[in-house]
Symmetry: C2
Subunit: 430 residues, 2 copies
């Protein structure tokens, strides 16, 4: 909408996450007119969302205004909007703010929480993919402790104090560790009238170990860290249903009014993509040049894209790094294309993976070596700090981390928007 | 609710603003059991709300968790709740979480925005008394600029870019100055496609000068600063009505979709207070010991209280300082009472007043001297920084101020919760 016509081909990028952001940054805007669409006006640094949810960081430090990132870039247009349907035959895309024409369309909308079709869980569990969702978790945790003070019914009180996290990937593990530290250092001072021996933090995982994508020794170390922090880890356990107070599993039931769902993701491709290019997890099949086969000028990158490569014949892992590398790679190939040069096929270079389980405790797998404990934790801190967008955010995050480390504190335990079901309907439109 | 019975008299304080916070801090809890009620779980530093509304500060830096402030205090209980009705004859108070009994009840609920009975304005204008309201203004300002890009209708675009602030007290003046700086330094870079000569910032005041409570020379200086910043000041102008796009005044109409209402406050005393102790502005008449005449154990302090003293025969000004001093004073008198000592009547010591109109521009009236310009601005910075609760907040605010000063920037321009009318209904329950 209201984007000037240009004699350069127009590249429309849908999604300002890790993949879309890198593509939009690196693409040569002397060769292309660049249009970036996102439903938010900011980029979200998802790896630290769990610290927003646990009152360790302000949302502002992990969100960065997209317009600021691109204020120096020529031929660049950002429009806040949601994609509704694409018409590849007409090279048009329908959005919440109208219809755009494109020469090249790059879909980079990432993933959404996967509730595996369970409507009760979808309605009552807390997802953690966006800043508003993380703030809802922060509010709900604190609201439930306020409410726990008001009841004499012990089982009710325990269900308000207990937290159950489903899914022991990095998100679930880091969240469980952070909540365990709240329980150890912060909540008992705030709520001296409550008996915290009665608060249980359960981490439920369907597979046979935590951090399934990582090496067995990392999984075992992380599980040991979690147990040290008092987190109860349930492996090989499936969640069947949730009524808002009780979770039924294939083992024992669990009582909680705070169920955080980190059990899996799926994709939500826009309408207009034919079923025959949709792979497992609703990912869009692309070739090694990120092209959707059978469509001219249609691309997908990041978590949404399913790309088989010699090193990754079952597709790339759905984490930040492949998205970032595909964004950079596609920017290069689009330049090659503009210059009439040959395109280069994509291959993923895995820089490693890591997860932190609380202060001085992390597991870290880098090319060539694995490490756990304080050194891994230090690597985790540096990597995440440097990966943030903007020096202001790095400085504020660093300050808060240092402050929280020395004070064993989480100062941002504010209920700014009390969480309720009605509110939730609104957030889902965010 | 669930507050242990004690052989000490129970003091219930309603409201954790400036007055209630000081009273709860200073009251001797070896003599009294202290119960603090607030609808939020944090204290709001209202003087800096305007910087949250204009993307200069995170909400987290001006809000401070009440439980953290009092975690060392014995015989202290905080309960997040809203007062509904009081029963002075039974010494009971009904709240959203149930009924409390009290020996001493101190009402410190402050003020609410006064729309002077105009329902259209109440529904469509933005108030700025709470953190959620300030965040709504931040969202609406940015949403309107995103929307301005999408229309070709010039008058529609201007109504989206224009901002009208009604009320030229400190809040209105500081807000107008901050928005003028956004227009000067931030928005044109974010929205290069928009012509900012078409953006107007109007400050409408019913009386004959800005900052009416201050000295004439301060008013004139502040008005000059505002004009330098390009703010259009309308004195002796009354707002009649607003339809969401056009404001009708007794002068010319103004076109804006962002009307911020800082024109006045009123009080909202709980049910159960008889009409004959209610004064102008719905304030509760108290004697110089903060007692509501005719009721045993019932007190009011701060903006809600109407107290005539020799120096202030028409009541105390409704600003932070009298509330703070009354809170401290009542804590002392309650101790005197417990010790059987004589009570001391209250008199307000005015430490002065100040307002900032943007970088290096402020007006400042201190006992003995007045100053304007950069030095006044420096005093303003130091006073507000030190008045914040908690060293973490001071450090984060100082960092952001320094960063914004040197970068002419406001980094927190995030639309985290898009503003809409439905959302608003929820905020009003905050």
């Amino acid at each position: 909408m209201n984007i000037p016509l240009s004699n350069l081909p127009r590249v429309v990028i849908v999604g300002g996450g890790f993949g879309g952001l890198q593509l939009a940054r690196k693409i040569d805007s002397s060769k292309y007119q660049v249009v970036l669409l996102d439903k938010h006006n900011y980029h979200t640094f998802q790896p630290l969302l769990y610290q927003v949810a646990t009152a360790g960081l302000e949302p502002d430090s992990i969100a960065y205004p997209l317009r600021k990132i691109f204020k120096q870039k020529a031929n660049f247009y950002f429009r806040m909007s949601e994609v509704e349907e694409i018409h590849p035959e007409k090279k048009e895309i329908d959005t919440s703010i109208g219809t755009f024409t494109y020469d090249i369309l790059v879909l980079a909308t990432g993933t959404v929480t996967n509730f595996f079709g369970n409507k009760d869980i979808e309605r009552l569990a807390m997802g953690m993919k966006t800043v508003p969702e993380a703030l809802n978790i922060r509010s709900l945790l604190l609201q439930n402790f306020e409410a726990a003070l008001l009841t004499d019914d012990l089982s009710e009180r325990e269900s308000l104090m207990n937290v159950v996290i489903v899914g022991a990937g990095p998100t679930g593990v880091e969240l469980a560790g952070a909540i365990a530290e709240l329980k150890a250092h912060v909540l008992p001072m705030d709520y001296p009238d409550l008996d915290f021996r009665r608060m249980n933090i359960h981490l439920v995982e369907g597979s046979s170990r935590v951090l399934p994508p990582m090496a067995v020794e990392s999984s075992e170390k992380a599980a040991r860290y979690l147990e040290k922090l008092g987190v109860q880890v349930w492996l090989n356990t499936r969640v069947m249903d949730y009524d808002g107070k009780t979770i039924t599993t294939d083992k024992q039931p669990m009582h909680t009014q705070t169920l955080i769902w980190a059990a899996g993701v799926t994709c939500n491709p826009p309408g207009g993509i034919p079923a025959d290019v949709i792979e497992r997890g609703n990912r869009i099949r692309v070739d090694r040049y990120s092209r959707v086969e059978g469509f001219e000028g249609l691309y997908a990158i990041g978590d949404l894209a399913y790309m088989e490569t010699p090193k990754y014949p079952k597709g790339q892992p759905q984490v930040a790094q492949p998205a970032i590398q595909q964004g950079v790679h596609l920017a290069k190939n689009l330049k090659n294309q503009a210059l009439g040069k040959a395109l280069v096929p994509f291959e993923y270079k895995d820089p490693g993976s890591m997860a932190t389980v609380g202060r001085s405790r992390a597991v870290c797998e880098l090319p060539g070596f694995k490490t756990q404990g304080a050194f891994a934790w230090f690597i985790w801190l540096v990597v995440h700090l440097m990966a943030l967008v903007g020096w202001r955010n790095r400085a504020v995050v660093f300050f808060n981390w240092a402050y929280n480390f020395f004070n064993y504190n989480r100062d941002i335990r504010l209920i700014i928007r009390p969480y309720n079901r009605v509110q939730r309907q609104l957030d889902e439109t965010d």
